[in-house]
Amino acid sequence: MQFGLSEEQVLLQDNVNRFLDDHASLNAVRDYAAGGEDAALWQGLTELGVSGLLISEDAGGVAMNALDAAIVAEALGYHAAPGPFLGSAVMAPTALQLADPTNTLLAELASGTTRIGIAFNEAIGRRAGAAVEVSGGNINGKSLFAFDSEADAYLVADAHQHLYLISANAPGLSRTHLTTIDKTRRTVELTYTNAQATLVSNNPSVFFQTLDIGRIMLAADTLGAAQNMLDQAVAYAKQREQFNRPIGSFQAVKHMCAEMAAQLEPCRAMVWFAAHATNELPDEARLTACHTKAHLSEVGKFVAKTATEVHGGMGFTDLLGLHYWFKRCGSNRQWLGSPELTREEAAAIQGLI
């Protein structure tokens, strides 16, 4: 029995973190937030094998598992790094592979030459004005907050949990940038007018497996982002002095830090378990994915607020950049189902509704 990361996984974690320390520094994040590009960063991650993480070796990937992907997601969250990881390296390959392992797009995803985004909201929590209607291979309507803005194609889900692929250049598709509070990732509105869409899968199980792994990645991203904020808060509390003593010697501050650690530490095991369940424990996978997404969202919100408070006015400034992580936790919370919605799903999965 071994519940934890293997040696190879620790190595993967170190490699990705080291790469991101160099290439996704706070300055790099700022550049991206100010309108910069993420292509070079994604290219670098592709060279580390990140784009092909979940893709079979036959299709040019490295055939690792959801836990490996969660390790990468955590590192990306720790650095608030931009990039199409969630769609292109996780959700799209998961769906395509489940539907048809011989799909040639898989090789393009693995090599990083194609980016596939995701437009799932209309299947999870459709908002007013949005809708996806597909008939006779044509798609009409609108997807909100699709991710990401640079994708070459989108994996679109409709209310029947069918998945379609639509090229970003398809006639009848228009794409508009939607500014959100989280400037480390860019979302778009997709408007479809008789655009051509290819059916990927009409099997709800493909949809749910894709959704679940996406949710686990968001939870892992929050784990990393919140851990970073806690680390920054603890470091600041040791160094900042008031009343002739480090603020970290005041119990109010110490207890804020302890409370963050106490809530966050079990989240690590939770993300590990949920990722492991995705591959190995099908009976538990759906429930743990929903709960992990919801629970990490709650803890992430608490840590984001509390770590900011530990920094006093400095936490509120742009100068320190802490707000990038604050907002990252905030958007992870809403993406692919907010906590209330995912908990309702968790209840349904157990037959409690």
Binding site: F3, A261, A294, A346
Partner: protein
Amino acid sequence: MDLSFGPEYEEFRQTVRSFIAEHGEKSPRNAALRSPEALQWQKMLIENGYTARTIPKEYGGYGGTPNMLHSRIIAEEFADARLNPGLGGQGISMLVPTLLEVGTQAQKEQFIKPTINGEMIWCQGYSEPGAGSDLASLTTSAVLDGDEWIINGQKIWTSTAQLADWIFCLVRTEPDAPKHRGISFLLFEMSTPGIEVRPLIDMTGAANFNEVFFTDVRVPKQQIVAQRGEGWAVANAVLSHERDSLGNPNATLLRLNALIELMKTETVGGNRLIDHPVYRDRLMQLQGRVMAMRFNDLRILSSRLNKDQDARLARMIVKLQGTELRHDLEGMAIDIMGEVGLSYEDNPYTRSGGSWQNQYMYFLGLIIGGGTSQIQKNIISERGLDLPREPKIEKSA
């Protein structure tokens, strides 16, 4: 990542299951300490290695080699079958492990066997009116007079002192030493002349803890564990055994399942509580927290089996998180039952034998006892996160 225990362990699990199938019926429910059912069950469990499993045979245990997974499987199977897992209490869970670590041969021979058999009941005499969280400032004194210690002072919050045969007690033996180095760990009989036990009624209405007064209590010199002045270190070893046993996530899971059942049967306005979206969401929030603590517990178990795995912080937060979670869980049952949730004792509307109210209060006691939640946060921040220690203020003369 490998969650399986392996085939040899599955075989062991089957052995445990057949024992349960054959003998489970004899498991006593709510048996009083020292009752014949409880003692017989305990005896059978020890003989079969289901409790006191790793305690050497010569001290009355089963004599099994320590194996975390065997212990885990036994705990899981007994919990699943809702069987009494054997006697607990401060003697068995705290004193016995301590004696095994630092006791003399004579002490081990004298105390361990009757304690694990349930024939010798202990209480823990640490806290004093003036020394709670700041336990090291305790003042109960023990002065050596020939071959005997003479003890004077007072303890408080001493659980089960009214029933105990013996006490393990912290006393100040070196008044001139720094406060942590002047403490010794003594064992003595509660029937010794000069001991007075006065029950204290707690918020549940029962008198589970007591004040204990010592007036010239004479105790044989050799009834000290470890050396003079080493009591603080011994006590800390005991406390770590205590904290390990609090906030058990498997027990919490059983209570969560009981809460789900309650919500399926209880109604408000004719609707099942589980069908009430707000209550259901609160339930799901708790289920998420319970899950996180269960997986945290798996990680801790794994770190004990795989020494290169670090789970220090994961362990440090268990008492804080586990007791608060359990208190919230019990409290939720009361909330969703409204006034019915207030029913207690002989009220005919009382549900589940009053256990929700009882456990709600009991876990508040555990939040306070054994190092309060605030003290846990001090420990997490200072030892876990390496934040600066509190500035020390010396007592003015």
